[in-house]
């Protein structure tokens, strides 16, 4: 639920409750005042009757009126309390019962007591009340509508900086160059929040940048000692007089040095790709690039007695040749390395996607974890960063790299769009 809706709901509910309560109070107050007015009229009538009796010593003649009735009744020597009450009034003209007010009293005429009932219809009072009530209701409704409309417009306007900020936060990417720009708003809360968010994003970016610079520098700094060790090994094997055991040990060291070097290089490459530092984009004939890559791998495939099928169509992509070569090298290399002897590698290329399928030693791989860094098969000699690298390249070019296991084939698909 949006803040505006929530606010509107609460304010509307409150308004309605308040209006109902005040409506009741209003109604009863007016009703009371008007009843009081009627009662005063009744007292005036009663007084007139008393005056008449005092002067003439008989009961006054009663005239029939539309909204007033006076009734006398001989009650002998009884008296009755003087009191007001609510009652009904039969309107001959309208042929209906109407709410009315009654004053009950008594008067002594020539030694006989008479009860007096003065009844006055409240129909006009009621109508007045209804009218006042309707007008008030109309005004209140108008007020509510005006309030909601103004709320909607004003609040939407007031919250505009918030939505602007939100949009920026949604677009915020720690690897991007663009940061969150400060907003110009007169509202202090939003300005504060925006300032803090801008500062935070800048801080996050800087931390991230520093971390990456550190990784890059660390990898670079490692290269020199590795280079020294490598050169020393190269020199050591020239010394001669090494026996088989020593030779094997040195061979193992070479292998480890090679792994270390590759790992370092891939880490540097990954940093570079993440930073978008490889900017040699050009229109590439993907088909020709794949054919070259396949011929590079032909010997390896032959060595493992693999059958390499290709189904290629002409596709042109605008991207870095370096990165396309690395992507193909990794995917094809994996398809061959993790294959079983006598297996199959299929490469398909069309306008939508590049699909590389291979038979393998294992059943389906966990699509959720294979792209993770340093995730690799237990017997793999690779760096564990190959697929991470492949996926990063895809992401940078707006492609989507997907793994699936179809018909006993490990399938890597690069969706171009």
């Amino acid at each position: 639920m949006k803040l505006l809706d929530k606010y509107n709901r609460i304010s509307l509910l409150t308004t309605i409750v308040v209006i109902i309560v005040t409506g009741f109070i209003y109604y009863f107050t007016i009703s009371y005042i008007l009843t009081d007015q009627v009662d005063k009229d009744l007292l005036v009538e009663e007084n007139e009757i008393f005056e008449h009796v005092k002067l003439n010593h008989n009961l006054p003649e009663v005239f029939k009126s539309e909204d007033l009735k006076i009734l006398f009744k001989n009650i002998g020597q009884d008296t009755m309390p003087r009191q007001f009450s609510n009652t009904q009034f039969w309107d001959d003209k309208e042929k209906e019962q109407e709410a009315a007010r009654c004053l009950q009293s008594w008067v002594r005429v020539n030694g006989v007591n008479y009860s007096i009932h003065i009844i006055e219809s409240k129909v006009e009072t009621e109508e007045l009340i209804r009218l006042i009530f309707l007008i008030t209701l109309g005004i209140i409704l108008l007020l509510i509508i005006a309030l909601i409309t103004i709320n909607r417009l004003v609040i939407r306007n007031l919250w505009q900086p918030f939505y602007d900020m939100l949009r920026q936060i949604k677009l915020f990417n720690v690897t991007d160059q663009n940061s969150i720009t400060p907003l110009t708003t007169g509202i202090e809360e939003f300005r504060d929040m925006n300032d803090e968010i801008s500062a935070m994003s800048a801080r996050v970016k800087q931390d991230y940048q520093e971390l990456k610079t550190f990784v890059e520098n660390a990898a670079h700094e490692l290269m020199t000692p590795i280079a020294v060790m490598n050169s020393k090994l190269d020199t050591l094997i020239q010394t001669g007089g090494l026996n088989d055991e020593q030779g094997t040990l040195i061979g193992d060291m070479y292998g480890t040095m090679g792994k270390l070097t590759r790992l370092n290089k891939v880490m540097l490459l990954l940093t570079k790709i993440e930073n978008n530092l490889i900017n040699d984009q050009e229109a590439l004939d993907v088909r020709a690039t794949i054919e070259t890559a396949c011929s590079e791998f032909q010997d390896l495939a032959y060595n493992k007695a693999l059958r390499l099928h290709t189904e290629l169509t002409d596709v042109t992509l605008f991207m870095s040749k370096t990165l396309l070569d690395i992507l193909l090298g990794n995917l094809l290399g994996n398809a061959i390395r993790h294959n079983r002897p006598g297996g199959i590698v299929t490469v398909k290329l069309n306008q939508q996607a590049l699909i590389i399928q291979n038979t393998g030693k294992f059943d389906t791989l966990d699509a959720g974890t294979i792209f993770r860094r340093f995730q690799k098969a237990s017997d793999s000699e690779g760096s564990g960063l190959g697929l991470t690298l492949a996926r990063q390249i895809c992401e940078n070019n707006g492609f989507r790299l997907q793994y699936s296991f179809e018909d006993h084939l490990h399938t890597f698909t690069v969706h171009f769009k």
Binding site: E221, K232, D234, T235, I237, G247, Y254, R262, G329, E381
Partner: protein, 225 residues
């Protein structure tokens, strides 16, 4: 061949010097920017191996200086920074080649030899090793008068061995030379083995001596005997 190694890391500098000297070259060294500038202004070299990250100075400035005075020395840049920009800038400034650290000494020698060969305009494209004759332009090999048909990779291997004759060349160096360093090939040494077997067989079949010997599981060596 007379070479200058400009490299600030003593361990690497000494290894390079020893390797090149043992291969019968004159190899001088410079450990920092001023020493390097002094040497290039005093002497001429067939090839200068230049590390571009030097203390108190940038190697690219040395490169610019050499090119400004129009010295004909071949230049091979060696750098820990494998960035495309550095590579392009170096080559644009007139370097002949670019090699990223870490590298194998055999690879460095092969690259230097290639530069020196390109630089010497004596029209001789032939590389002769005893009875083996390699035409570097036509990329053909003959033993005696018999032309031998080599694949691209076998040819590259043979050339690499001849350039590094008398040296033990590690399997890793061979694999990286043939495959480049873009691909994880560590589990494909078998493949190197079968290639070398083919090269040896083709040479022996053509009546050549079997020069290439395995060196204890570390690598191979082309014996000059």
């Amino acid at each position: 061949m007379k070479l200058l190694v400009i490299e600030d890391e003593p361990g690497l500098r000494d290894s390079i010097r020893d390797y090149f000297t043992a291969a019968g070259n004159i190899c001088e060294t410079a450990g920092d920017y001023p020493a390097a500038l002094q040497k290039i202004n005093l002497y001429r070299y067939d090839c200068i191996i230049l590390d571009i990250t030097l203390p108190n100075g940038n190697g690219l400035d040395i490169l610019q200086e050499i090119k400004r005075i129009r010295y004909p020395d071949g230049i091979l840049i060696v750098s820990a920074r494998n960035s495309l920009d550095d590579r392009l800038q170096g080559l644009h400034l007139g370097a002949d080649d670019y090699l990223t650290k870490p590298f194998h000494l055999s690879e460095l020698l092969a690259r230097v030899m290639a530069i020196v060969r390109r630089k010497s305009y004596d029209g001789n494209h032939l590389l002769v090793f005893n009875e083996i004759e390699m035409d570097l332009q036509a990329k053909t090999v003959t033993v005696g008068d018999h032309p031998i048909k080599f694949t691209k990779r076998e040819y590259a291997l043979l050339l690499y061995f001849i350039v590094n004759k008398g040296k033990v060349v590690s399997k890793n160096a061979l694999a990286e030379h043939i495959w480049g360093d873009g691909i994880d090939i560590s589990d494909n040494f078998d493949f190197i083995y079968s290639h070398i077997k083919n090269v040896r067989k083709k040479l022996v079949d053509a009546g050549c001596k079997d020069y290439i010997q395995s060196a204890y599981g570390m690598g191979y060596k082309l014996h000059d005997r």
